[in-house]
């Protein structure tokens, strides 16, 4: 389950320095006309992709930045943006 993550500021580091921040779900829904379904979707629901997914990470034992990466959940390997698009 080894994982290295490339922080935009600190570069490639040990995965245990980071905190997983959830799947990328787009922008927070607007408060106006917000339905319980849309809010639940944003807060709780996941796609649980077995493959490459876009996700958030926080460099908690480092620079403190929040950023997105692409990772293959079946191998724990980071993917370059171009590679994932193929």
């Amino acid at each position: 389950m080894a994982l290295t993550i490339t922080c935009p500021i600190c570069g490639k580091r040990n995965g245990y320095e980071f905190r997983f921040g959830g799947e990328e779900k787009g922008p927070r829904p607007e408060e106006k006309d917000l339905t319980p379904q849309a809010w639940c979707d944003y807060v709780h629901m996941n796609k649980c992709v077995a493959g490459v997914q876009e996700e958030w990470w926080f460099h908690k034992d480092g620079c403190g930045s929040w950023f997105k990466i692409l990772r293959d959940t079946t191998t724990n390997l980071e993917q370059a943006a171009g590679e994932a698009a193929k």
Binding site: M1, L3, G21, C40, M45, N46, C48, N76
Partner: protein, 407 residues
Amino acid sequence: MFFKNKPMWGKKTKLKSSYDVVIIGGGLHSLATAYYLSKEHGITDIAIIEKNYIGFGGAGRNTAIVRANQRTRYNVPLYKEALDLWPVLTKELDYNLMFNNCGNLNLMHSEAAMKAARMTIATAQFHGVESHLIDAKQAKELVPALNISEDITFPIHGAMFHPPGGVVRHDAVVWGLAKGCAKNGVQIHQQTEALDIGTRNGKVTSVTTSRGTINTKQVLISAGGYSAALIYDMLGIKLPISVLTIQAMVTQPLKPVLDHVVSSGAYHCYANQTLKGEIATGAHMDPWPNYTTLNTAHYIKHQAEALSEFLPCLRGVRFMRIWGGLADMTPDMAPIMDGNDQVEGFFMDCGWGYFGFKSCSAVGKYMAQFMAGNECPGMLKPFNLNRYQEHKLMGETAALVNYSPDN
């Protein structure tokens, strides 16, 4: 692969082009549901579709612990029934499931934890589940190997003692239920991957597999940790689930030293001695979602540290085997059982996290009732998917846990 030519549960069958019910996943929840459908509801035209072999997933990877000391009034009766069913199933299936009700000792390491335990015990007792609060001295009397001194990382304040719990031989449950299913005419198809679910006008019509399409009106996905990905992939239904690898390991065999299941939330560690003498112990989940089921030095070290603190006699004992399985965690640590809601004829049984094994017997019974009558039994009603939207999360944890970060 195992039993490819001559299955141990019965005759090898040919995949037909239609079934009354198709069940995706060859684990314990699927086998138990098929068993009860065929035994109690006369529905025997069932295909269980399994990509690998039966018991490949959580059914063969859990640490065999069973108990009924959950926290909410919805969960406790379900787990109690599951626990009560082990001796019944052993007789019914005519297969030794090796149920050993040695009792569970859940260690508490602070006054706050003792308070939380008091509430859980009150709930258990209200529902007729035996569970007591004991102090550190009494815990030491039950498990003399326990270290109750003050100079460990998390000194033991007391424990929640749950005598009817224990361990069940998990592989035996797989084999016993498979035999029971086959005897009633259920077909088990290994090495068969489910690829898609066909629907028309909001109703299930077929299941596409790697070995052809099957026409069916009812399909159940109960594929353990793989359920959430399958359900999203096939039907576009998103679930409040995070799938994480959870690791477990056994030590070399020892003479009898531990005759209860001992667990500790603070140490993130639980241990029991198997009938072979090994100390089987489990760790906490990986801190980020993944499907690898790989092991890490990080957790081997963590287990060794935890065990050698509260069971110091294990210092120097070697780990012999280590493995990983998947836990599909929900935000409220309670499962999702639903059906005929999003799509008519589609049922799901998932989100069990690391409670899938201990619940399988009772869940099979109620999911079978659900599918046979097309009406949700009262026992399962609180576990619907809509509860997240209605903000009716179940309080299965004393404090809200966020299942990826930092724990």
